[in-house]
């Protein structure tokens, strides 16, 4: 079996594990669903709905991805299953990539769920079928999965190489930063204007960020080693 198949094999297993975890599904549904609904209710105009879609799709993907990656990377390390995996013929990079893919696919699914909810509720509110703008559509279909993948890769890296205490601190930081961002009003405030029009510029900025995160993760990956993972496994 070649390494691409191996990566896909790991990814399939992770997707299966995530989809069988009721707690994770609940988190995904809550973040994807509730935040989608909340955001659209907080916004009003068609313009704001586009902004809502922009932020909800991105942040739901990253936030759900973070919850799932805790289960896929951190818990496997905490329970020491990772040690057995590291003894298999799989390379460390294949394991890592497989896990990233295994988290990204369901996380992106929940991001799309949030987008669908926002679109549906908005359509009901404006009494006609609401269609996102071309920029937002490209953002959802291309930028969001790339950004989510990049963010999950970086989170997975930290979860692999850092100890439990450090990961806890990072976890709090992620929640503190992401939750306020889930609200378009706050997002709008940060952009300087609630009624700012999301253009190719904002989408481009997001893409650049995604590429930068991917570049950073690729650079950091040279520090990923079996020894780093094993020595940060919590002792009993």
């Amino acid at each position: 079996m070649n390494s691409i198949n191996m990566v896909w094999l790991v990814a399939q297993k992770e997707i299966k594990s995530v989809l069988r975890n009721k707690g994770l599904l609940l988190t995904g549904s809550y973040v994807g669903g509730m935040f989608g609904v909340l955001n659209v209710l907080l916004s009003g105009s068609t313009l704001a709905i586009n902004n809502t879609l922009f932020s909800t799709a991105l942040l739901a993907g990253v936030f759900v991805g973070y919850s799932f990656s805790r289960f896929v990377f951190l818990r496997e390390k905490q329970e020491k299953i990772i040690e057995t995996m590291l003894c298999t013929p799989l390379s460390l990079k294949s394991i890592w990539l497989g896990k990233v893919l295994g988290v990204t696919v369901p996380a992106y699914f929940f991001s799309l769920l949030a987008v669908s909810l926002v679109t549906m509720i908005s359509s009901i509110m404006v009494h006609s079928l609401f269609l996102p703008s071309a920029v937002i559509l490209i953002h959802i279909v291309v930028v969001v999965p790339v950004f989510t993948t990049a963010a999950i890769s970086l989170m997975g890296f930290f979860q692999f190489v850092l100890g439990m205490r450090e990961n806890k601190i990072i976890g709090y930081l992620i929640v503190l930063v992401l939750v306020p961002f889930m609200y378009p009003s706050i997002f709008g405030l940060i952009l300087g204007d609630v009624n700012v029009v999301i253009s190719w510029f904002e989408v481009g900025i997001c893409s650049i960020f995604a590429v930068l995160i991917l570049a950073l993760t690729t650079y950091l990956s040279r520090y990923l080693s079996k020894e780093k993972i094993v020595t940060t496994i919590p002792s009993d």
Binding site: M1, M6, L9, K13, K16, S17, R20, N21, E79, K80, I81, E83, T84, M85, L86, C87, T88, P89, L90, S91, L92, K226, E227, V230, T231
Partner: protein, 309 residues
């Protein structure tokens, strides 16, 4: 060529010496017992052999090579570590199927069926592992470790938490793998009785250093004094028997426990002790040569190195 070899391995972690100049060889077909108290460095040793940790100095070789990132070598090794390495949300079948695919095993269905039958979990194959007892998980983990028919097996406390029946299954499996298939097994264990029953060679590790390393037979010879245990029929003859035994030049020490006397002898002297007793007409119910158990040898070695003895 040794199948597993540690050459003067030293490992420092956070400024602390975990292993200090550990050397041993495990030959093909050997069942090698690695014993020692908690924190002695057994798990670190196994991790270094598996390439999960790099030694600070020295080398650990498997098939004559450092395991490192060699996927091909890892394909020929089976492991059962402290954790079972099983996914609780997958069924027994799915777990085995996953690992079988990782190791590119052929005839997966047939192999899984046979293994599940062997470990007695055929009827639970579709149940999630999370619903299994500790013993069932350990048995499944054993099956997982051999699904790809490895040449070398590294087991870390394989029978920990198992009931006596499952412990026997583990022992039988280890003996079968070594005896019938000529597999080499590295057994990290606290279970001295198990080590004594299955291992051909043993290393006792303490505080990161090997204190004893030999075959079970040689360790017995080295660490246990020959002794004869005599059970008398009459309490009134105990004193006379003790006087006689203490007067014999090949008896160095005597201990009494009711009608039973244990005489430490200089060499194997069971028949001589018996005939000496019979010469003065002492009625003997039973005479037997006493050998030290692995537990006694282990404690002896550990205490000796701690300077207690």
């Amino acid at each position: 060529m040794a199948m597993i070899e540690a050459q003067n391995v030293t490992k420092m972690l956070n400024g602390r010496t975990i292993l200090n100049g550990v050397s041993f060889e495990v030959e093909e077909g050997d069942i090698f017992g690695f014993v020692g108290p908690n924190g002695a460095g057994k798990t670190t040793t196994i991790r270094i052999i598996l390439g999960l940790l790099k030694p600070t100095s020295g080398r650990a070789l498997v098939f004559g090579k450092e395991l490192g990132d060699s996927d091909d070598l890892r394909r020929r090794i089976g492991v059962l570590l402290e954790n079972d390495g099983l996914y609780e949300r997958l069924s027994a079948y799915e777990n085995l199927n996953y690992y079988a695919q990782l190791y590119s095993v052929s005839d997966i269905k047939e192999k899984i069926k046979n293994l599940l039958e062997f470990i007695g979990l055929s009827d639970r194959q579709n149940d999630k592992v999370g619903t299994f007892s500790k013993g069932m998980k350990r048995r499944l983990a054993l099956a997982r470790s051999i699904i790809h028919d490895p040449y070398i097996l590294l087991y870390d406390a394989p029978s920990a938490g198992l009931d006596p029946e499952a412990q026997k299954l583990v022992r039988d499996l280890i003996l079968r793998l070594s005896g019938e298939k000529g597999r080499t097994i590295f057994l990290n264990s606290h279970h001295l009785d198990e080590v004594q029953r299955v291992c051909s060679r043993i290393a006792i590790l303490q505080k990161g250093e090997i204190r004893a390393y030999d075959t079970v037979k040689s360790l017995r010879r080295k660490f246990s004094k020959p002794a004869v245990e005599i059970t008398l029929t009459d309490n009134r003859e105990v004193k006379r028997a003790l006087d006689l035994l203490n007067s014999l030049d090949y008896v160095s020490e005597c201990e009494r426990d009711g009608l039973r006397i244990t005489a430490i002898t200089k060499g194997e002297k069971t028949s001589m002790v018996l005939s000496a007793l019979m010469k003065i007409s002492i009625q003997v119910e039973e005479v037997k040569t006493v050998t030290k158990s692995m537990e006694e040898i282990y404690l002896n070695v550990v205490r000796q190195s701690e300077g207690i003895i």
